[in-house]
């Protein structure tokens, strides 16, 4: 995770601010096999209704790939304050949340972006 927070006082009236967080999250399983119990030979029918032998057609070589997770998330805000006088100021900001889903299993593709524009006025008393 990387984060940055910056404030720039451009003039007596104008201040810029920037906040940003970038996160990379990954998860995975190692490949695995599923050996049969020692007392069951691999070439006998495991049950009367089973298609194939005891080892069957079960193939576990790709299952570990389905467990991979990888998300990249960027959340940032860029804004500005403009001081009208000693007590009052205007503000404006843009906030972006961007999630990139690079392993789209289970919940489908979760890639998405949200952008929010905000403005207003603050008065102190």
């Amino acid at each position: 995770m990387f984060f940055v927070n910056a404030n720039l006082t451009a003039s007596e009236k104008v201040t810029f601010f920037l906040e940003g967080v970038y996160t990379i999250a990954k998860g995975s399983f190692d490949p695995f096999d599923l050996p049969l119990p020692d007392d069951i030979p691999a070439d006998v029918q495991i049950s009367p209704d089973h298609v194939g032998d005891s080892k069957g057609a079960y193939d576990f070589t790709v299952i570990s790939d389905y467990s991979d997770l990888e998300y990249k998330t960027l959340e940032g805000t860029l804004g500005m304050n403009y001081k009208l006088d000693k007590r009052a100021s205007l503000y404006g900001s843009v906030n972006l949340i961007d999630l990139q889903d690079d392993q789209t299993y289970v919940y489908g593709d979760l890639t998405g972006q949200i952008i929010t524009y905000a403005t207003g006025m603050t008065v102190g008393f």
């Binding site: 720039l8 695995f32 599923l34 603050t122």
Partner: protein, 603 residues
């Protein structure tokens, strides 16, 4: 909920307006700030995970935003008010007040939305296959499939919490009475899943309404007599789930391959061809009594003690749980360089047992079946815990300290590591007559934890500091799931897979598991190093690194390990009077292993 918010708002405004009026004649004051604004949001692709805590309902509309912060008072009263409004789902209100007569009050309200994922279940789609003479896969036999009854559903929880607390000083004494109330509500919709007869063959999901409410009342009294301070507090907590439950029709139990053998497959079900609710949660009640005592022994130190009694009732099953807890502590400064702290805690948690009453296995088969698998469920919450802590702090030199601590914890559980109920066959007599029931039995009851911790911390003049901590933990018989994974033939003469033909019909349960599994270590080493340093008047840096290695080599089928490495660094710098930066990076790497013995299709 809304009435309480309205009343709280009116009360806050009345209290605020009074001093505003008084401020005109010099009797009071008020200061703060007010913000009014607007915001608009837009999204692309799927915004649910990106905006996990964002109200997604009013996108593309211009929304009003407000904030108010007040601090004011009169000659007899001080108060603060905080109000934020971002949208209908995201808002908060806080109000605090203190009077000269010794009355203090605090009220608050918070509301936000939590968006939840939708599992499309698409990975639940597979079919058994065989291999023909030419090596090609031939689909057939059992399969796993899914049904999502709400494929377009969006799931979220609207969380709201109100709380109010009042404390009153009793006249001419050091005593206080206090009381409070809080209410949490969670509403919305969630995805609820269930499975059909044989686990994982058919997975079905639907939307379920959420309407949960938790009410907590508490009241008490505290006071000081000489050098002793005493407090008693009573807490009552009620949880209600007022939402309905989705229903699922469990199909007739017919063997998925040999459909004609319905009776055989049905013998392993306790219900079939019936519509039943699922995803149901129970209402509950909880009462807590707590008494605490603190005695100041001057130079001989400080002594603390407390007793807590808790009673919980599941209103759906009437299962009751009780907790008795006693704690004590002693702290003393042995000399200018040494300080000793000792703590003791013991508690007992006991939940009613519950008999799991099952129809006999293959009741129709009086020769090889008709076996009774009833068992008595002992709650995993049941335990008696005894714990002692010793902490010694040694001032090595000016700005250098060394700290040693030792914790001994013994956890005694009735249900620790229960085995499975099994049968042993004698190979001579059929059915019940030849099958000896082996009840579940505890593998071990007692877990003993010894934790030693050493910490060294020092200051680097006025410019920085650093500390190093090493912790070693040894656990004798950590909590585990015994005989949970891996399988072998049932023991006994003539059982299936060991040459016996007669019991071949019951091979479905004639397997027993023997592998112990856990993710709890028997030994753990933890290292932590952190420090901060002021490089210049305009730049400072702080960094940390954590490493831990856990292992459990007491298991019978594998050795569990877990390693964690987590470094990080933060930099604060002000290149000029007008520019200020904070930069940071951290990383966490975790690797662990497990022994998986998943049931696939017919177990």
């Amino acid at each position: 909920m809304h009435k309480r918010i309205l009343l709280m708002t009116i009360a806050a405004l009345l209290v605020c307006w009074a001093p505003v009026g008084l401020a005109d004649d010099g009797g009071g004051f008020v200061m703060g700030s007010a913000t009014a604004g607007a915001h608009i949001s837009d999204s692309t692709d799927n915004p649910v995970r990106a905006g996990e805590y964002v109200n997604l309902e009013d996108f593309e509309d211009v929304m009003a935003a407000m904030a108010l912060d007040l601090f004011g008072g009169t000659p007899n009263t001080l108060y603060t008010v905080g109000l934020t409004y971002e949208d209908n789902a995201t808002k908060s209100l806080d109000f605090s007040m203190w009077t000269k007569q010794g009355i203090s009050a605090e009220f608050g309200y918070d509301s936000f939305m939590h968006n939840m994922d939708h599992d499309y279940l698409e990975n639940m789609q597979a079919r058994e296959a065989g291999v023909d003479d030419e090596g090609n896969f031939v689909p057939g036999g059992k399969q796993v499939y899914h049904t999502d009854n709400d494929p377009m559903g969006r799931y979220f929880i609207q969380y709201e919490k109100f709380h109010g607390d009042v404390t009153i000083d009793l006249c001419d004494s050091d005593a206080q009475v206090f009381a409070g109330y809080s209410e949490q509500t969670r509403s919305g919709f969630k995805q609820t899943m269930t499975i059909d007869h044989c686990a994982f063959c058919h997975v079905e999901s639907d939307a379920q309404r959420i309407d949960q409410r938790t009410e907590v009342w508490h009241a008490g009294i505290r006071g000081t007599v000489g050098k002793a301070s005493v407090q008693y507090e009573y807490t009552s907590r009620d949880y209600y789930d007022q939402a309905g439950t989705p229903e699922h029709h469990w199909k007739s139990a017919i063997h998925p391959v040999n459909g004609g053998l319905g009776e055989e497959f049905a013998s392993r079900d306790i219900f079939q061809d019936v519509t039943l609710p699922y995803g149901q949660s129970a209402d509950s009640e909880k009462d807590v009594h707590n008494v605490a005592l603190k005695i100041d022994l001057d130079r001989a130190g400080t002594l603390k003690g407390a007793y807590t009694h808790t009673k919980s009732v599941n209103s759906f099953t009437n299962i009751e749980g009780k907790v008795h807890a006693v704690s004590a502590g002693y702290a003393v400064k042995l000399n200018p360089d040494w300080r000793l702290t000792a703590r003791f805690l013991t508690y007992e948690d006991k939940v009613d047992d519950y008999l799991v009453d099952l129809p006999n296995f293959r009741a129709y088969d009086t020769t090889y079946g008709n076996l009774d698998f009833d068992w008595n469920r002992i709650s995993a919450a049941n335990r008696t815990v005894t714990q002692g802590d010793l902490n010694l702090n040694w001032k090595l030199a000016k700005r250098k300290h060394l700290n040693f601590s030792w914790r001994l914890q013994v956890i005694d559980r009735d249900a620790m590591a229960q085995s499975q109920t099994n049968y042993l066959f004698d190979g001579v007599n059929p059915g019940n007559a030849g099958a000896t029931l082996v009840d579940s039995a505890p593998y071990a009851n007692k877990t003993t934890v010894n934790r030693l911790k050493m910490r060294y911390n020092a200051r680097l003049g006025m410019k920085g500091n650093y500390n190093f901590t090493y912790t070693f933990t040894n656990v004798d018989k950590p909590y585990m799931n015994p005989w949970a994974g891996c399988e072998s033939s049932l023991q006994g003469v003539g059982s299936a897979h060991t040459g016996g033909a007669a019991e071949g019909r019951v091979y479905y349960y004639q397997r027993q598991r023997y592998g112990n599994g856990t993710n709890m270590p028997s030994q753990a080493h933890q290292f932590a190093l952190r420090g901060s340093y002021q490089v210049s008047p305009r730049t400072s840096v702080s960094a940390f690194v954590n490493y831990s290695h856990d292992k459990n080599d007491d298991l019978n089928v594998y050795e569990y390990t877990r390693d964690l490495f987590s470094p990080g660094i933060n930099l604060w710098t002000a290149p000029s009077d007008r520019l200020l930066f904070t930069l940071g990076w951290d990383n966490m790497w975790v690797q662990s292993n497990a022994n998986l013995c998943p049931p696939i299709f017919d177990g």
